[in-house]
């Protein structure tokens, strides 16, 4: 790979990662000038082009300003004594939570402790056996599995979900594309079934926030998610929060729990 090819590969990768084309060009030009000044081959100075572009893209996505001052909004989710029983198995026992706009709640617990069930209860797809659930009407929902249609392209997903939210096709695609860039991804004309696991998860997350919901219910993706994508996702969670949404995240890794507003630890099921 000669120097020009290296820079082209770097530029391409930056664009793939959703960096604004002008910004990508500037970063690539800077790198070229830096390499020229050093008299080194770019691969010698920066390492492999794609790896370097990935680091650059991640650094470039840092927020420009300090986080917005947060105002806690109205209650978007209130759980009081929520229980869920499947026959004799008690999956959720007396879950309480008050989540306001501008707050993040992390749901943690071992596998099988009812995390996904709780998410389903909040979404309304699972009926609670007891207790009360009050919830804002406009929600975004990104389940862990089967959240996307394997035979549809990302743009078709945007249009479909946009139609449900009463958005025009063009606006839905524009919004989806912009949100994808925030997660370091530029959607292309490939059906979802052929996207990598990590990219499918990004699509899943983007669909969950398409309508600027008041409450976002997110089953944190972990399969096929690399470290950078993972950090981007959490940056996104805080961005939603700063924009005033309430976020309920089911999380599998204990990531910076001191940064979230509520931690809900589920105890797990019990056979009786």
């Amino acid at each position: 790979m000669n120097a020009a090819e290296w820079h082209a590969a770097c530029d391409r990768r930056l664009a793939e990662l959703g960096v604004d084309p002008r910004e990508a060009r500037r970063l690539a030009d800077d790198s070229a000038a830096e390499a020229l000044a050093s008299g080194l081959h770019p691969a010698e100075l920066f390492g492999p082009a794609t790896a370097y572009a990935t680091s650059l893209a991640s650094a470039a996505r840092q927020p420009l300003a300090a986080p917005l001052a947060r105002a806690r909004g109205p209650v978007v989710l209130r759980l009081a004594g929520v229980t869920k029983r499947y026959r004799r198995r008690e999956v959720l026992r007396g879950v309480d939570l008050v989540l306001r706009g501008g707050e993040v709640a992390a749901v943690v617990g071992a596998n099988g402790s009812g995390k996904s069930t709780l998410l389903g209860v909040c979404a309304g797809s699972v009926k609670a056996s007891g207790g009360t659930v009050e919830r804002a009407a406009r929600i975004g929902y990104a389940p862990q599995q089967h959240g996307v249609a394997p035979y549809l392209t990302p743009d078709e997903h945007f249009r479909l979900f946009g139609a449900v939210h009463g958005m025009g096709a063009r606006k839905a695609v524009a919004t989806g594309t912009r949100l994808a860039a925030g997660l370091g991804w530029r959607p292309r004309d490939t059906v979802a079934g052929k996207l990598s696991g990590g990219t499918q998860q990004k699509l899943n997350v983007v669909l969950g926030e398409l309508d600027r919901p008041d409450l976002i219910l997110l089953d944190e993706p972990y399969q096929g998610f690399d470290q950078d994508s993972y950090l981007d996702l959490w940056a996104q969670v805080y961005a939603w929060r700063d924009a005033g949404a309430g976020v309920l995240v089911v999380t599998h890794l204990l990531h910076d729990l001191d940064k979230v507003d509520h931690v809900l630890e589920l105890q797990g099921s019990e056979d009786r």
Partner: protein, 109 residues
């Protein structure tokens, strides 16, 4: 181990070096090496500088020289200067704490 530590402290180190004087990328790399950090690959150094720039702590400008090619110089912004001082103080506190527990291991060894 050192590599992981460096990852956490590279931003701080760069802020401190820039607090001393403005510099260009390769110059910063050399000064880190002289300080005892070893060779820092450009693939680590430049993204760090970009991140600091995006955070508004570092500003850049291009300088053409009469002898060599043009170079990008990095300098602290007023925010960067404040951040360098604050983080250096935090680091000294943290280092003192680690020193105290490390001393325990040396005493018992």
């Amino acid at each position: 181990m050192r590599k992981q530590w460096l990852h956490g402290f590279l931003d701080l180190s760069l802020l401190c070096l820039l607090a001393e004087r403005r510099d260009y990328g390769l110059g910063l790399g050399q000064r880190l090496a002289e300080a005892g950090f070893g060779d820092i690959p450009g693939g680590t150094l430049y993204p760090s500088l970009l991140r600091l720039e995006k955070q508004g702590l570092v500003q850049t400008d291009w300088e053409t020289s009469t002898v060599g090619p043009r170079r990008k110089y990095f300098d602290l912004t007023p925010d960067g200067r404040a951040a360098a001082a604050a983080r250096a103080a935090e680091w000294r506190e943290f280092r003192a704490a680690v020193d105290r527990v490390a001393a325990l291991a040396e005493e018992t060894a």
